[in-house]
Every structure is written in C-alpha cells, then in structure tokens.
Amino acid sequence: MGDKKVVRVLVGKPGLDGHDRAAKVMARALRDAGFEVIYTGIRQTPAQVAQTAVQEDVDVVVLNNLTGAHLEVFPLVVEELKKRGRDDIYVLATGVIPFEDVGPLKEKGIDEVFGPGTGPIHIINWIKEHVMGESEGA
C-alpha cells in the first residue's frame, strides 16, 4: 500500500512579526524541492504552531522571525510540542538570529539555527540529510 515517504514540513511564524516574504519564499522553495509544505500564516501563538504540527504529523517545523522575538517565542513552540507528546519533531529556526543566540536556542530544544546569510537551500539540504534516509515503521 502507500508510497515512498514524502517529507512534510510546517513553516510557521509565531509572534507578531508580519513580514512574510521569507516564509513564503521558503515555503515555495521547499515545495519545489519535493516536500509537502503546510504554512500557518502569520501571527501564530506557540500553541497554534504546535497543534498544527501534531495534526499534520510533520517531520520538521521551520520557524521564522525577523523582529528579535525568537529567543522568547521559539522555545515556547518546543515546549508546546513536548506537552503534546511530539518532541520527536525537528524544529529549525530561521530569521534574524545572531550567532550568540544559537547556543541558547539549541539548549532549549531547537535542532538547528539558520541565521542571516543562509537561505532555503540550506534548510533543504539539512532536511535531506537529517530527515530523509530515515525510513520508519508505524
């Protein structure tokens, strides 16, 4: 029954940041790379992002923020995922994130950070390396 596994990715914008060019370009690029992409739209609470990730059973959540709220808000998404029993979903951080925040974010459960100077291709390659090639049973 069924098909070769297709990677499902959630692109989420938690917080009040309304600049969605990067998130939309990311979503399209991920789609062009062959992934199924669910985009939440802007202005999501961490709980909304997490419940979406659970319901859509995604492999990766890609969070984007350009206004400096990442340190407070991204870890809340990780917490919400844990609360719902899906801390096995990868969480990636993108946006205007300085290098000194990478460590603290990873300590709080973010799996990788893609700050200024990176683009969709880096996320695509990361997903191909870390998510694909993992074939699962139920």
Partner: protein, 560 residues
C-alpha cells in the same frame, strides 16, 4: 539637426554592422538584458527611441510645474537639501526620549518614532500575544502617560515628528495631540506625519487589525480631522517601500502605491470633502533599490503619473494637490550579511539615485542592517553618505541633472506605461480593495519575490559576496544584536496596573461606550471620541478592542 528617421536608420545599420561584429567575437553577458520590471535594456539610446510625439513641455516642463517630472519645487536642493531623517527605535519611552533630546542637540529638527509590534497591533504590553515583543522593534506605548514620557522636555511646537504607525494611527495621533495640549501647545501648530497607510499592510507588512472598509473609514476620519484641526500635519504617508521590500518590482511599487493613494483620495471625497482641501498634505514613501537608472526613472514617472491622476481623475485645481512629495529609504533587502562593508557602497548608490530622483527626505541604511539594529558608528557612516552626496558630489547643485538622457527619458515613459496598465487593471477590478481581497496584488508581489529568489539562487542575478566573489573564510559569527531590554514588559505591566488604579474608571467605561456607538455610524468622525478616551487614560488596547468589536478582525486570503 539629424532627423528622427535618419537616426533610426543609422541605429539599425550600426546594430547590424559594428555592433554585430563585436557580439560575434565577444558575446554579450546576457541576452537579453532585462530590468526586473520586465523592460528590456537596449545597448544604447537615441532621440529617435523616444515616442514620436515626445514633447519637452508636455512630458517634463519645469521644476515645480505640472506634471512635475523634474521635481516638485522650483529650486529643489539649490535652496535646501532634502531632510536627512534617520529612523530609530528604542524599547522604553525613557530611552527614546533620551535619544530624541540628543538628536535635537545635534541639530536635527525632525524626530522619527518606531513603535513595538504590540503597539502597532493595538495590544497593551500585558496581552498574551505581546510576550517576547514588548519594546523590541520600537517603543512600547500603552497609554498617553507613556507618550508624555516619550516627549518629556521636547518642544512639540518646534519639532516635526514622524510616527511609523498604521492600524492604530488614529489613537497614537490622538495621544500626541493630548500630550501637546496638556503641555499648553495648540494642536494647530503641530507638525509631523503618521504613516497611517493600511492598504500596504494587507499586502506587504502584515500589521493590520481591522478589515479594509472600516480601516479606510478610520483613515478618512484622520485625514479630514487634520485638514480642519491639525492643518500642518501630514495625516498619511502612502508607502511603496514595504511593497518593494516584500519583493515587488519597481513598476509594481509605484502602481500599487498610487493605486492605494487613489483609494484614500476616493474615500475622503466620498465623505464630502473637497480634494484641494486635503490633497496637499498627502505624502509618499518609496524605496531606492540597486538599478540606478531604473530607480531614477521610477521616481520621475511617479511624479508625472500622480500629477495626472490628481488633475484628470480628481479634478484638483491647486497645484499643491498634484505634487508627489516623498520620503525615501534605501532598500534594506538588498543588504547582505556577508562582507557587510559592501553595503556602504550599495547604500551610497541607492541614496544617489534617490537624490537625483528628487526625494524630499531620505533615510540611508547602516551597513550592518542585515544583521541587527545599527551601531552608533554605522549610523554615522550612513548619515555621512548623505552629507557627502549633498556637499561633495555636485548632484544637488542642478535640478534633475539627468533629465534629457535618452535612456532615462525612455525608461520614465516605459515605466509610466506599465504603471498605467496596472492601474487600469486594478480599476477594472473595482479598485485596490477588491484587488487585495481577491489576492491579486499579493500574488503579483509573491511571484516577483520568488522570481528574484530563483534568479539569485541560480546565479543569474549576481549578489556580490553572496553568490559571486564569496569569501569562503568569512566569519559571520562576529555580529551582535542590539539587545532590547527584556524587563520592558514587566515595567509596562506595572505601569498599566498603576494607571488603571489611578484613573476614573467609570469615565473611561462611559467614553469607550460612546466610542463604540459612534463607530457603528460610518459617517461619524471618530477622532474626537478617541481623543476624549485617550485623555481619560483609556489604554491603546482598550480603545482598539472597542473598535475590534465593531469592525471585526481582518483575515487575509491565502496566497503564495
């Protein structure tokens, strides 16, 4: 004088012989050379490339005269340079106040205020969605008390204040007026601007609250109120900057901005105000991007188109109503994190285009803009960029020095044509609001953004330091982020508690109820009601919540 036909013939001959010979030996780098706007760039331009009926007095005329292609004032920078107005934002009202006082001491006469996201979205600092956002991208303002602190010791009758605020702009303006009045300053002398441009929020910036129609009503309220009560105030800054930054082309930037402007003018006229009573105070805000000639042509085309729209579509009589006055910011999205010093050059070129394009005021980005809020050093370099252009380059000593260039005149005409195509299409759709509700504008922008991304990803568009001339050993870890004070939220929450305890809560309730009732009648101007609520110390969130109840919240269409 060689005649048109002769020049055309020689050009064709030249292309077929000298030019073709060279191309055979050394092929051109691109084929064809295209501007993002979809206009092809030929090797060289001649008088014969302009339209047959191209007429100097009709197309250009003189600075300060319809259609204002060459500039809106007769003397332009020969009299006074453009305003060098750098945008800045700090977390608490106290910190911003300190920075304002410093700038005023340095001789700046204009202030520019950035607000944090909760404020821009009508949330008080104690709202659930404000977590992690209070005081981050600008100052947190929850009530008129915060406004008092922000402008403490600042002579509001002597400075001009620009506030980048949109959805709740009416409320922030009300606060500014109340602060001035409580300091004994008459509202009639207040000078400044509120951005107050909701239509671009829906398609580019994302800080909207209410749906389009009630938002337009609020904007009309502020424009009409200012025309009568605060006559020196610019009640709107119709913006293309954010539209461009979200990925649109130069043509779309102008087309969608002017499309928005048409809606605003229509809205006020529909409320019964004569166009010449308010149109002179409409101002604009554009980006200045990389392609030097395209940007200059864009500004010139914008002036000509707007003048034509005001004269022919709206029947304006006063020349001031037809002048497109604008502020420019160099394009932040073109700046790179890699090799940041390169950005100084990019900003310089973009600033030069804006100046030659005749901007009224200019903000130049700092070179580390891609990485964080700028440092004092980088902000100074950005300011010096403007000063060197002003004092050393000579471009400010002549008006529209590039006018008459066959290429630039041709480009100005081409851009104008393409903008009109968009405007006509939008008019067929019923105006900008249906175009936005149907997602047409957003789709155009997002397609342009994706094309740009693909062109860079495929290397077809070169970004120096990013996909060409890359430094493989570059250490990108060296940058830092301006740290917003994480305690701002607590401070604001404490302040809110105090405010609610001290004020006359019965009065606030009564005034909010009156506002709610007034909001339900489309023809009632809400400004007086908002001012009263603000004066009684109602908070930004409380006032916005009343309006949210009546107007509803906007849900965007799903466009990729």
């Amino acid at each position: 004088m060689s005649d048109r036909e002769e020049i055309k013939k020689v050009k064709e001959e030249w292309l077929a012989t000298d030019y073709a010979k060279f191309v055979a030996k050394v092929p051109e780098r691109k084929n064809p050379f295209m501007l993002d706007s979809g206009i092809e760039v030929e090797p060289v331009y001649t008088p014969a490339d302009l339209d047959e009926d191209w007429d100097y007095l009709k197309k250009l005329n003189f600075p300060g005269r319809f259609p204002f292609t060459r500039g809106v004032y007769p003397t332009m920078y020969r009299g006074r340079f453009w305003t060098m107005r750098q945008y800045a934002g700090f977390g608490t009202a106290e910190e911003s106040n300190k920075r304002f006082k410093y700038l005023l001491e340095q001789g700046q006469t204009g202030l520019s205020v950035a607000f944090d996201l909760p404020t821009q979205l009508g949330y008080d600092s104690d709202h659930e969605l404000a977590v992690g956002e209070v005081g981050k991208v600008g100052v947190a303002i929850d009530s008129v008390e915060d406004m008092h602190i922000l402008f403490d010791g600042i002579p509001l009758d002597k400075v001009s204040t620009s506030m980048t605020i949109n959805a709740p702009a009416a409320i922030l303006l009300a606060m500014y007026i109340v602060v001035a009045e409580e300091k004994g300053i008459d509202r009639k002398v207040l000078r400044g601007t509120i951005q107050n441009d909701i239509l671009k929020e829906y398609v580019a910036r994302g800080t909207y609250i209410f749906p389009p129609r009630p938002s337009m009503r609020l904007i009309a309220d502020t424009i009409m109120f200012c025309a009568e009560e605060v006559p020196k105030w610019n009640p709107i800054s119709i913006s293309g900057y954010h539209i461009r930054e979200s990925g649109s082309t130069a043509v779309q930037e102008i087309a969608f901005t002017l499309g928005d402007a048409i809606e605003y003018v229509k809205a006020v006229i529909a409320r019964g105000m004569d166009v010449d009573k308010f149109a002179a105070r409409l101002s604009f805000f554009f980006a200045s991007h990389n392609n030097f000639f395209e940007e200059i042509a864009k500004f010139r085309a914008a002036r000509r188109i707007w003048a034509t729209i005001m004269k022919e579509k709206f029947g304006a009589q006063n020349p001031k109503s037809m002048m497109l006055r604008f502020h420019t910011q160099t394009a932040g999205s073109t700046l790179t994190a890699q090799q940041p010093l390169n950005n100084i050059v990019r900003v310089a070129i973009q600033a030069l285009a804006a100046v030659i394009g005749g901007t009224q005021s200019l903000h130049t980005n700092s070179y580390d803009e891609a990485l964080s809020l700028p440092t004092e050093e980088s902000v100074t370099v950005a300011l010096r960029t403007q000063q060197i252009i002003a004092y050393e380059s000579g471009v400010a000593d002549v008006i529209d020095g590039i006018g008459g260039s066959y290429y630039v005149e041709k480009l100005t005409d081409e851009i104008e044509k393409k903008v009109w195509e968009y405007l006509n299409k939008i008019e067929q759709m019923g105006g900008m609001i249906p175009a936005i509700e149907e997602g047409y504008i957003q789709q155009e922008i997002t397609d342009a953004a994706y094309n740009y991304y693909k062109a860079v990803a495929e290397g077809e568009k070169v970004v120096v330091g990013v996909n060409k001339f890359v430094d493989p050993n570059e250490d990108l870890t060296k940058f830092h982020l301006h740290r917003a004070d994480p305690t701002v939220r607590e401070k604001q929450i404490a302040r809110l508690k105090e405010l609610r305890a001290k004020r006359d809560n019965e009065k606030v309730k009564k005034l909010l109820a009156e506002l709610k009732e007034a909001a339900q009648d489309e023809n009632t101007n809400l400004m007086p009601y908002i001012i009263e609520a603000v004066r009684a110390r109602a908070t930004l969130g409380e006032i916005t919540d009343v309006l949210r109840e009546v107007f509803g919240e906007y849900r965007p269409p799903v466009i990729f």
